[in-house]
Symmetry: C2
Subunit: 316 residues, 2 copies
């Protein structure tokens, strides 16, 4: 877009913007672009046809809101924004095809560092960055939109949970929140739990395996199971009885329940044996049963007691 | 994403966010969602298969940078962000399939007004809003990502201009910049040129017609022909000789050259007769020849004189 309240710019400015865009394109660009595709540099990116359903999701990360600049390097903001969005594709059982990144920043922001984090997450999830936009703003904010494809049986929604289903998660919870707590207490950036917070890993392989096994409902734990499981139950019109919540080593029960950004998947299915077999066959960790779906939407319990909505939430 | 620097939130906050998201979904949501599609409410939106190539583009609009809050209502920011992104699809000869919207805002922002503008642009361009994200920030910033499809002959790139091609635009230029000038001088919000600034119209029908006619290169004039034509020439490895620039009624030559946000399309082709016939057949205004492509990339002239890069540019 143009910037009508800017002073009209001159050759130097336009060159400067175009040069910066080229440097950023070199950081995020893939060396090999599939034949027939156009990534950065045109009005829109052009991708070869998607197989099956198209999946789209968008996520924003704001410096000072989603990342404490005193504790973490700027590249973590870029990494986490991409990982969070890609995790939404994992939660549908999809496969990433690409992402675009829109960034606002004040003058003096190290946009190249930010985009190195973006490029790291893109490389780790095999999700090429195919376009972007930059604008001035007071905040450093990164809006990432990912798109993916879902061949085969179709995307797994969060609304498909059925009475009697077992509820499972792909791993123990609370690692990210524990890492944040440890960093605040002075732990190094390469501490194992701090890394879990800085470099969350979208469960793409687990999402594909879960879809292949025919799970009824699935979502990613981005805001904490204390809120996300309620959302799944709301969408499905059911209740749940949680029997246990697996707490990651080094984390507290509160962090496991209310910490976000673990990006483990929660899913429900009728046949845990089949699910476990498919996960094992693919070399994935066995999912953990944490409870069961109840037909009454008013039933929401953990270890037999009422389980209220908690978890991190944006405030407006 | 979670907000690790937020205080842990309680039931009231989570309900408040979920309620706000529901009100916004009602504003931007379509009454009829195609069978098999899922828009807002799941981890990712699910769209039925795209026909042919997939097109993706993202654009950010920041209040105070892209829109003067003293002169224009907040809904214009949402409208313009969507229109600007959809215009990128028009510029490839594509058809919109959907958009997602990521918004940052400080407390007290009228997010419903902002989303009414977003919904207006989505309705006018037949581009459903299928998802979004909200975060706190100091700026009101709207990042819109649109995706479209391009059946038939494939997307038209800006890199395809060939020596000897005629250069055309879909209409006279400068209306948006003239509208901004008039509004600054006190014109009403419903003044015709002010409306051209507030409610730009992506040239989707023109883009489809141009693709059907086999134009060699195309792009939208978002930053002004004074910079955008250079970008097309750079991408194509050619120069150009501009003979005339059509100035819209009420605009100045400077506004026609350097004003952005007109979103007219510029294209190059070898057969102007065929192009005009196809436009006429579809009831579209006849494109205007403004010059010709030169084989030497160093040749960049307007009425025989050197034509330097100008136009609006973001500054970093």
């Amino acid at each position: 877009m143009t910037t009508p309240t800017d002073p009209p710019a001159h050759e130097e400015h336009s060159r400067r913007e175009d040069d910066l865009l080229e440097r950023i394109a070199a950081i995020v660009g893939r060396r090999t672009i599939p034949r027939g595709e156009v990534h950065v540099g045109d009005d829109a990116a052009v991708l070869e046809p998607f197989v099956g359903q198209a999946l789209i999701s968008t996520d924003i990360a704001v410096l000072g809101v989603h990342l404490d600049a005193e504790l973490f390097p700027l590249e973590d903001l870029g990494y986490k924004a991409v990982a969070s969005a890609v995790s939404d594709l994992a939660a549908m059982g999809g496969r990433p095809r690409g992402a675009v990144v829109a960034v606002t920043s004040p003058p003096g922001t190290d946009l190249e560092e930010l985009h190195r984090g973006i490029a790291d997450a893109a490389a780790m999830t095999n999700c090429p960055i195919v376009g972007g936009d930059l604008a001035r703003g007071r905040d450093v904010a990164v809006a990432v939109t990912v798109f993916g494809e879902c061949p085969g049986r179709g995307a797994v929604l969060r609304s498909g949970a059925r009475a009697g289903d077992q509820i499972l998660v792909t791993g123990p919870l609370g690692r990210s929140a524990a890492g944040l707590r440890r960093r605040r207490a002075g732990a190094r950036l390469d501490d194992e739990l701090v890394v879990a917070h800085r470099r969350p890993w979208p469960r793409l392989a687990e999402g594909l395996a879960a879809r292949a096994s025919g799970v009824h409902a699935m979502m990613d734990l981005s805001d904490g199971i204390g809120i996300d499981l309620h959302r799944m139950a709301d969408a499905s019109g059911v209740g749940f009885e949680l029997s246990e919540v697996p707490v990651a080593e080094g984390a507290t029960l509160d962090e496991a329940l209310n910490g976000g950004e673990d990006y483990e998947l929660v899913m429900t299915c009728a046949d845990v044996g089949r699910l476990s077999l498919i996960f094992a066959d693919r070399g994935l960790r066995r999912p953990i049963v944490i409870g069961r779906i109840h037909e009454d939407p008013a039933v929401r319990t953990f270890a037999g007691r009422p389980f209220e909505r908690t978890g991190f939430q944006h405030q407006f």
